[in-house]
Symmetry: C2
Subunit: 288 residues, 2 copies
Amino acid sequence: MTTVGQPGGDTPGGTEQAWLAAYDPRAFAPIAVTVDVVALTIRQRADGGGKALHVLTIRRGGMPYEGFRALPGGFVRAAEDEDLGQAAVRELAEETGLSALGAAGEGGAPEADSAPSDAPAPRLHLEQLGTYGTPGRDPRMRVVSVAYLAFAPDLPEATAGGDAAAAAWLPVDALDPSELAFDHARILADGLERARSKLEYTALATAFAPPEFTISELREVYETVWGEPLHAGNFHRKVLSAPGFVEDTDTTTARGGARGGRRARLYRAGGASLLHPALLRPSREENQ
Amino acid sequence: MTTVGQPGGDTPGGTEQAWLAAYDPRAFAPIAVTVDVVALTIRQRADGGGKALHVLTIRRGGMPYEGFRALPGGFVRAAEDEDLGQAAVRELAEETGLSALGAAGEGGAPEADSAPSDAPAPRLHLEQLGTYGTPGRDPRMRVVSVAYLAFAPDLPEATAGGDAAAAAWLPVDALDPSELAFDHARILADGLERARSKLEYTALATAFAPPEFTISELREVYETVWGEPLHAGNFHRKVLSAPGFVEDTDTTTARGGARGGRRARLYRAGGASLLHPALLRPSREENQ
DNA sequence: GCAATAGTGTCTCTTAGACAGTATGAG
DNA sequence: CTCATACTGTCTAAGAGACACTATTGC
């Protein structure tokens, strides 16, 4: 500690005062850290209008934004040495009862993808989305919120372990952004864009599908997340041409479509996490 | 506040205790929030070995990790209503004296790209990289660190406004990861991978180049960041075929290469932020 | 002149997308 | 049989990469 003015680093460290403050954050950084989760799944619309991308929301029971919908989330439990990703899993479990899920892809960095190692099909994909800490985003105090993005296959009603009245899956296209508390509309929008983009170059679409699925079901995942129809024949060929995307089970569905049709072959998720070649979205007009 | 058990949301809100705690985080979440910056630039190696990708580091002057190198960073100043991105800019300015830079691309989400609006060439690109909050990453207390990634053109020596002895640009390939404090080796690795990946599908390579540059200089950026040589002819054609990537200035360099050669045409950054088609890295073998 | 650098032409292979055709099963 | 769904063949256009060639300049 000689001529150092602002060594910075992970702590203040510079002046003696700042150094001491580092040992007592209570006197230095009154910032709360929370975790919010954008949990996405594909399920039937409640009004029977076919399948749609749904996001898990809870209804707020207190001020501020009382009565608004919000993303599930809550404080990181620092006293229990809880990791950020663990906190996200816990919040999700409290709202949906989906515990005992092998959360894949958890890591400090948002881009860190899961290496499936040996588990054939991780049941839940979780990745860091981003951190939102604009002053004033919570009217009460300074809150920095680490947002996570979760991809889940169709789950039981979102109330098993949590509060039945508050939690609900809502179709993202029928959700009024102004209905969401805090800056959760922004977080949701970022999560949706990330999800849509990730389907292009990763095999994560399988995380929305049951353990065994047909190519048509996989296509439905893409169509639902991207919100546009895809050419069935070309999609089929492209999926099978990407090595490791899907793996043949040598079985077929028990019967064809409701109104006739051939039995479809069943596949499970393959070992690859990155798609090569990628499945790019159509309709990417001009940029800028 | 009727039957709600775990409304969650952005705050505890559930029980009365938790609700009250939300108003006094000092008693609830003793977590410090810091910002760390992975600042990258391309500059001449000190030993004369050509150009290389450099990262800005400081030398720690206090415990823990005294004498180690670390990424510039420090506490978010909650009392001053400082945004996370502002904190990153401030830390960078304190170490390098590069103030008055139009920081582009700042936002809550890491993927949010800058819309250059009307400024022709933003001088510094800044984006959120990810948040690192594993318990124990700082031996003294619970620290959650929001990491930012900055791309800068070749800057004056990294000491203008800060501490001359502590700050230094180091070539990333000559940096021993175990020389870095905390989990900064991991953060740096994530930042490098993000940078390499972003060159593929965005026009950010121009952020490493001077306001006017030749195609060869742009190619040198790619070669330096990716660490592999590119085919000059094909690169040339691909850059010019991506609309909005570069814009012709109708001028050329004053003279050709040192050992002869044609004068090169000068370009400036175009309006596009996303490249179409993308410039993919070679050597992406098999995945998984 | 020669060597070096900038830039273009052209060929082949792969992929995307359009479209049409075949295979199979439910009613 | 008819229609729906699964799957395959084929053609065209565009991009990637290899390679060769032309253009221009310093020495």
